[in-house]
Symmetry: D2
Subunit: 151 residues, 4 copies
């Protein structure tokens, strides 16, 4: 499963990059878009002390936030020009503490539905050069049309 699909908008990449740039929370976290393909998005982020929990690791909610954006933009990259993207729900499993210097978040579309778009995400932490899978996400997006929301 590659997560690569045919885009419905010729401007899919700029739509993704412009919308990501408008997410104040991602900028605040120091998260940046990496590789972007139709149906697949990577976000990277260095360790951020302002987003930690009580043991000094990244807060699970911080991991979930970036994975939600990765899944959301993976889905948004396949939506048409009239659609905004909303997250209907997601589930996240935490596999290991979010300890490391650098974090990578992958979102990919499982099925490019016209209204509902199921996606999956994986988060990895790099510490001393070794990468560990720290969380998996299952996320349902909804394409919303004609409500005046810019993507």
């Amino acid at each position: 499963m590659t997560g690569i699909h045919a885009p419905r908008s010729a401007a899919w990449e700029s739509r993704v990059r412009d919308s990501f740039a408008a997410q104040a929370m991602m900028a605040n976290m120091g998260a940046s878009l990496g590789e972007v393909a139709p149906g697949r998005v990577i976000i990277e982020m260095p360790f951020a002390p302002g987003f930690t929990q009580q043991h000094g690791f990244l807060h699970g909610g911080a991991v979930a936030s970036v994975l939600d954006s990765a899944c959301g933009y993976a889905g948004f990259s396949l939506m048409d020009d009239e659609s905004a993207v909303l997250t209907a729900e997601f589930k996240i499993n935490f596999l290991a503490p979010a300890a490391g210097d650098l974090f990578r978040f992958e979102g990919q579309v499982i099925k490019p539905g016209r209204t509902l778009v199921p996606t999956e995400g994986r988060a990895f932490a790099t510490k001393a050069g070794a990468e560990t899978l720290i969380a998996t996400m299952s996320c349902t997006l909804m394409a919303v049309r004609g409500r005046g929301l810019s993507g």
Copy 2:
């Protein structure tokens, strides 16, 4: 279902308040502990422009982060003095945009298991004096003993 149960630690409330105070992300978001009872925790937070998504609402991940803390501390309030709390997984459903001036997050324990503690969370937004349910969470916590983590 009240979410009120018998605590296993005499110091349950200070354990919850001290651990919450150590979550840098909650302070960064402007989130503060409200009412705390054994098995039930409330967190409040004003609108925070640094934690928004592309339409100017609170990011779904921000909502998830505070709900995760509300559920986590609801569970931690019932754990014994030897236990730290970890989130094994959570699922969140988004019901309405996180638009408003003030947000309230409730976490409560469904079953006070010794190792696994299932909890539920609800997030509400207040706008122009009216409160709306914006998200529901189902979360599984794990009590971790003897690993040298302070709660």
Copy 3:
């Protein structure tokens, strides 16, 4: 939260009962509709030895199946005459073994959206006269229109 809402179809109750009667799996399990209200549905079922797991309790999937139907018909009771109901996703937490003589499954709508309908379910087991909460479900339904599916 009562789960009671205004129905969109005058025939909501017969639509629910007729569709439930068409679910071969529910009949096969011995499950029957109990109280039905707009946005809220109860299903009951005696212990069924043909639907057990390796320890002799009801299989978690059997519990999930009836909860899915309870949530599905709670949502379907609020849909218009043109809509069929599909389950987009659900999550279930298991709190106790499904041991007992009689089981009760409650489904209720959290928000009666026109396209997506988030619902919640609770499953209870009665053993020696005492009722125990054995599972909770969070379920997202989708109203599907004009595809020739009868509800």
Copy 4:
């Protein structure tokens, strides 16, 4: 991610096959174990009219039941001789109607934890020779020791 890991029990395969054979519901559905490896289990099942929903497709709960067993035995295959397996929770996303002649269910371990074992499942339907992904599952298992449950 292959899902193949080192087993903790020399008898892992017979433990899996014996326990699966004790699940009355799987036999009732006509489900049978296919390929079994440490951390990865396949279950197959022909279409079963007694397990359908109102449109004549397999009930979502039936799909969930077999995926739960596939995930459960993938996890159980890595547990030690003292452990029984319980499902703590699962989430399932439905991608397409469960229409077809033959169904295949894959469960695989994501991380072989000693107490909690996160797993993932995929369900496929074969119709007229073509296979379609119809559902994905994210499931958390728990290894339970010393409670007198046989696996």
